[in-house]
Symmetry: C2
DNA sequence: GGCAATCTCCTAATGCTATTAGGTAAGCTG
DNA sequence: CAGCTTACCTAATAGCATTAGGAGATTGCC
């Protein structure tokens, strides 16, 4: 063997290759040979690192989602007020999506529809991430920033549903326009109904 | 040949079999043999009716979506007021989803992520269906029911995003709870911000 | 240094699956 | 009844994920 790649880099190379190809061509149309060629390996070698093609798909966003949830507390730290936290939450999430669109595409387009997704760490992390919203709504109700009758679970459905919709469309349209377009207006319209009756912006 | 099935029924039988199997096991894990066996045919005979497995997937929801958009005008006919129309729109859509969960599952989980989806009639119909909302928001603004600064496209994003989220979760959770649970409250919270400043419910 | 264990990668099956080739028998049409 | 069409079949073919089995390099231990 002439030269060997640095230790531990092969697994990363496989992940990067698969990520790129899945996002470009879709999961089904990408073959294991495509991935291994791109990574500079034989097909069989890939199986020393992953159990198979599906395992690879399920593993790809691990790091991205872990960082997403891990960074959330840091991002919200020191921010005062439920609406300010909500705003930061949305902006930070979209920032992460914008920074790693390939990961986002895989989570949104291929993973969420996979039958085994619900068994993965990624799913648990996504749930935890969305669960944070409940705390923010509870806090808003306690402080009086949000109306006392607000049902936090319903508010979360609206918030998450809208957020996911924005991201999904952006990804399906191949990121051909700025993700943050009109975001202020959207945020205000979406969250205005959470305020007490007398305090609409 | 002992007995032959009624004329024209074979195509329907294939569609029904595929629909059931795709919804149960997913698109990838369903084989053409599964489908043809369920329909009482050989694999090859299926290719006299469809170009292939993907064509079959793309064809399945044609009828459902056509009925969805076709029935919308009839449903909204005679209803007075933008909020009343919006409410009817949501209720009727969810009613259709509840009545044909297999079609809905295929559209939501397998079709929307398919690269060729955007080229299908189903996609055009879905767009037309969502486009209706813009008219409703314009009408609401004109009549004064909705606030004059309302951006109809942003309002649509919130409405569609939330609606899709509700449906997707219900389908992923295998329809284990009533789809219409808490819907009144959700509708009110989601649309309240569309009203003029002085008129919150 | 020598040697066994381990790591990293390979070539060559294997077996499943979508799709196609080519054919047969029943009904329909003139 | 001869030819055509319809609806279906059996038997390839070709692509792909996955596995078997092994070769050469590297590492750890004496």
């Amino acid at each position: 063997m002439v030269s060997r790649p640095p230790k531990g880099s092969t697994k990363k190379r496989i992940i990067e290759s698969a990520k790129k190809l899945f996002a470009e061509q879709g999961y089904q149309k990408t073959t294991v040979m495509d991935i291994s060629r791109q990574a500079g390996l034989s097909e069989a070698a890939l199986y020393d690192y992953f159990q198979g093609k599906e395992d690879l798909l399920l593993t790809i966003p691990d790091l991205w989602v872990a960082e997403l949830i891990g960074g959330l507390e840091e991002q919200l730290f020191g921010i005062n007020g439920a609406f300010n936290k909500l705003r930061k939450y949305l902006w930070w999430y979209l920032k992460r999506v914008e920074a790693s669109p390939l990961d986002a595409k895989i989570v949104y387009l291929f993973l969420k529809t996979n039958a085994n997704f619900m068994k993965t760490d990624v799913y648990a992390n996504v749930r935890a991430f969305y669960g944070y919203l409940i705390d923010i709504f509870e806090e808003g109700k306690r402080s009086g920033e949000m109306k006392s009758e607000l049902n936090p679970y319903i508010a979360r459905d609206i918030f998450v549903g809208t957020m996911d919709h924005i991201v999904t469309r952006w990804l399906l349209k191949d990121r051909s326009y700025p993700l943050f377009e009109n975001l202020e207006e959207l945020f205000d319209l979406m969250t205005d109904a959470f305020r007490p009756l007398s305090a609409h912006s």
